[in-house]
Symmetry: C2
Subunit: 464 residues, 2 copies
């Protein structure tokens, strides 16, 4: 006995209509009189349930089935009957129902609305709800869309290392990794921790970005991307920060900031279009129950030509706006979310790239512009959120890069391999980073990162 995937029945209904079929799934609801009953069955392959009708005169185990608890898993055999006059397009008239696994009356997902906060405490069961079924299916589709987008363009996918002995940005708090016995940390003759006894023979951390390693591959394969987990040990207990999250970082050689922005725009549109096409039921759900403006916002993105404005122009726009911001605006500040949202939502009313930021608020590796004050950086701002992508052209000039590292107190010797890329056939190159959870939140309207990660890792929380 083999259950047909319920998605197939919805997508290729003609093929199964009036035929005897077998499905398997979990009971979302069951209601029955003395003579007949209805089951809403979901098998996880599709957002929607299939309706099962069962009758006492056909089923020897009618009473058992009528009293099953929500969450029980069953196999159902019966005829698929089209019901054009009803709410659901078809139903199965059960001829046989076999119980695969029972559930109990204390199953935590009863047929009522549960708060997202409560559902976080049962993260192992929440994908069985409508909301999380939709979120995690879209997460899966979006991940695939990203691979498809880059692979169809000939990009090489690089697995940059997770364990690292360098700090990618000279910033970002990192998790240390160790096999030393914390109860009894070995010390050297000076009383310092003896990392020579650690697994790697030195101090190591979890990566905060694969960018620097990705650059080495871009200067070999031209167009590359990495897509993997990254980590921040930041004590930020906000709806937008997690200690573990996935990031997409493409890197392109023989390319400048303009090419980088074109790539980012194409990628964002591709991801959203792919998900909209492949999960219409899920987006209808989000648009109805989570965020009314969602579909308009997404359609606006995929049909707009993204705007471009320099940081300096953006600051002027903010100063001239007459708006009162919590963080005062002047040239040189890092734009806050309130500023970003004003620019994208009120000035341009569509996604906008802000370029050429002051070098003092950006990372050491960004290409210095001729003005001596700014770097060839870009942030993509989108309505409803603010910044969603950050990128730049990379400094390809060996001397400028070394000088900038020294200005920032970094030791160039620690980055000799990175500097080599500027010694041996360096090229213009550029890249950007997209936080994967951030685009999932954007596409679903879900406002807390804890609700788009399977088992979220945040301050004081690493359950499951």
């Amino acid at each position: 006995m083999k259950g047909i995937e319920i998605k197939k029945i919805f997508r290729e209904t003609e093929k199964y209509a009036d035929k005897e079929i077998c499905v398997a799934g979990w009971i979302r609801s069951v209601r029955a009189s003395n003579v007949f009953g209805f089951i809403e069955l979901n098998d996880g392959t599709f957002f929607k349930n299939i309706q099962v009708v069962f009758e006492k005169e056909n089923l020897a185990n009618f009473d058992e089935i009528a009293h099953l608890n929500i969450g029980s898993s069953i196999y159902v055999t019966g005829k698929l009957v089209l019901t054009p006059e009803a709410k659901q397009p078809f139903e199965i008239k059960a001829e046989k129902v076999v119980v695969e696994g029972l559930s109990t009356p204390d199953f935590p997902l009863q047929k009522k609305r549960h708060s997202l906060e409560y559902l976080r405490t049962i993260a192992h069961l929440r994908p069985r709800t409508n909301t999380f079924s939709a979120v995690f299916r879209i997460r899966s589709l979006a991940a695939y869309a990203i691979h498809k987008f880059f692979q169809e363009r000939g990009f090489v996918y690089v697995h940059t290392p997770i364990i690292t002995s360098s700090d990618a940005e000279g910033a970002g708090e990192m998790f240390r990794l160790t096999t030393l016995d914390l109860e009894n940390v070995p010390k050297d003759e000076n009383g310092n921790v003896d990392y020579s006894k650690d697994f790697f023979g030195k101090s190591t951390n979890l990566t905060v970005s694969g960018q620097l390693e990705c650059e080495t591959y871009a200067l070999a394969f031209r167009n590359v991307y990495t897509f993997g987990p990254t980590f921040r040990a930041e004590n930020s207990n906000t709806p937008r920060h997690a200690a573990e999250f996935w990031m997409i970082e493409p890197e392109i050689a023989f390319a400048d900031l303009k090419d980088d922005m074109e790539l980012a725009e194409d990628m964002i549109k591709y991801i959203i279009n792919f998900c909209l096409e492949n999960a219409p039921e899920e987006f209808a759900f989000f648009s109805n129950f989570i965020d009314k403006g969602l579909l308009d916002r997404l359609n606006n993105i995929v049909t707009s030509d993204f705007a471009h404005v320099t940081y300096t122009e953006a600051v002027d726009l903010l100063l001239k706006s007459g708006k009162k911001f919590d963080y005062p605006v002047k040239w040189g500040i890092d734009l806050q979310t309130e500023h970003e949202r004003y620019i994208t939502e009120e000035v341009f009313k569509k996604p906008v790239f802000v370029t050429d930021y002051p070098k003092d608020i950006k990372a050491f590796y960004m290409k210095q512009n001729d003005d001596g004050k700014t770097v060839a950086a870009m942030d993509l701002l989108v309505p409803g959120v603010g910044e969603i992508i950050g990128g730049s052209q990379r400094e390809e000039d060996y001397d400028k890069l070394v000088n900038r590292m020294k200005e920032l107190g970094m030791n160039p010797d620690d980055y000799s391999w990175y500097l080599d890329l500027r010694k041996y056939g360096g090229t213009k190159h550029a890249g950007f980073g997209l936080g994967f959870e951030r685009i999932i939140m954007y596409m679903t309207g879900i406002s807390n990162i804890r609700d788009v990660s399977s088992f979220p890792r945040t301050v004081k929380n690493a359950d499951f």
Copy 2:
């Protein structure tokens, strides 16, 4: 000026023939007389180089170009001329060559054969060699093939957590993760490490497997897979072990061991076929220069129906073989590589699933067979390597699972969420794990895991 990707010129030659084009790339070799010269140019988008011919009478900077060092990056503009009589199918007659980035005479990749060991010391430059260009392009294609395979079958991709507070198999040495100050580890009143002060408020590790979390998603979405990095802090300095590697772990509900093996067989064939179709130049290279028998072995896999044998039958075959093994054979031992290779290479001469292993050598979560001695496990053995996949049906019986955990000294309370899957609509389900680097080694003939990982992490080595 925008360089056309060299791959496009090879794949759609007619489109560019006799036209003026521009390419960009890195010089693999340059040789010149006083009046003309040849450059082998590679831009990373394709395994092969394109030949550039340049002549003194056409190029103002002829002397500069003739003396460029290997590794320099250039833009070349000129006409693409078909050369049906020559070794290469076409060449570019340069009209303009612009230097993008110089290289130096001490560029570490000179035009000679370098040992793989030496190339590991310049892991940031080695993707610019033929061998690593081929390895990492195939790695990228294989990763994509895996996503394509599962997504086309409706599987949901789950990002299971990397940071974990549980140990997936009750085995496997793990890396500890901490933000505690190792110079001064906080202790509680009993003198033990005070993990309540650590980032997550408890002791955490890097995952060794996403399986248990994947099971929670399979019992919601039916068919799921995870594909992400996993970690082992094992002090094994062998060509097959790394501390960081990627793993594919599908999990399927309403499915048994037979379904699991069908899925594994289909997946392996799909990955190999996809790579063979999309990287013929790379496979020709491996087959010529790395492993003469490679293509035969891969073709044997994709055209065979995989064999099936139980562990008990396999032990009988080994005992009856008359072969002398380093590790003596008797029922109950864990099969060693020499045993596995005998079974797959000499008995079956094709891939073979060995099933129903003694429960004492397998993990707690595997489904116990009715004989009381074995579990519904499977290993896939392939010629040339031995085990490449390990999987099982999972124990779906709550009581049997709890009893097995207790027998093994595990505390069921630590796994309450995992046990819940057997309380609330449990179903038959199964899954397997494929070490990603292992299949890349298998497909390329590369015998050391350090040569299929971008920046390998092994005992005492976390460089770059």
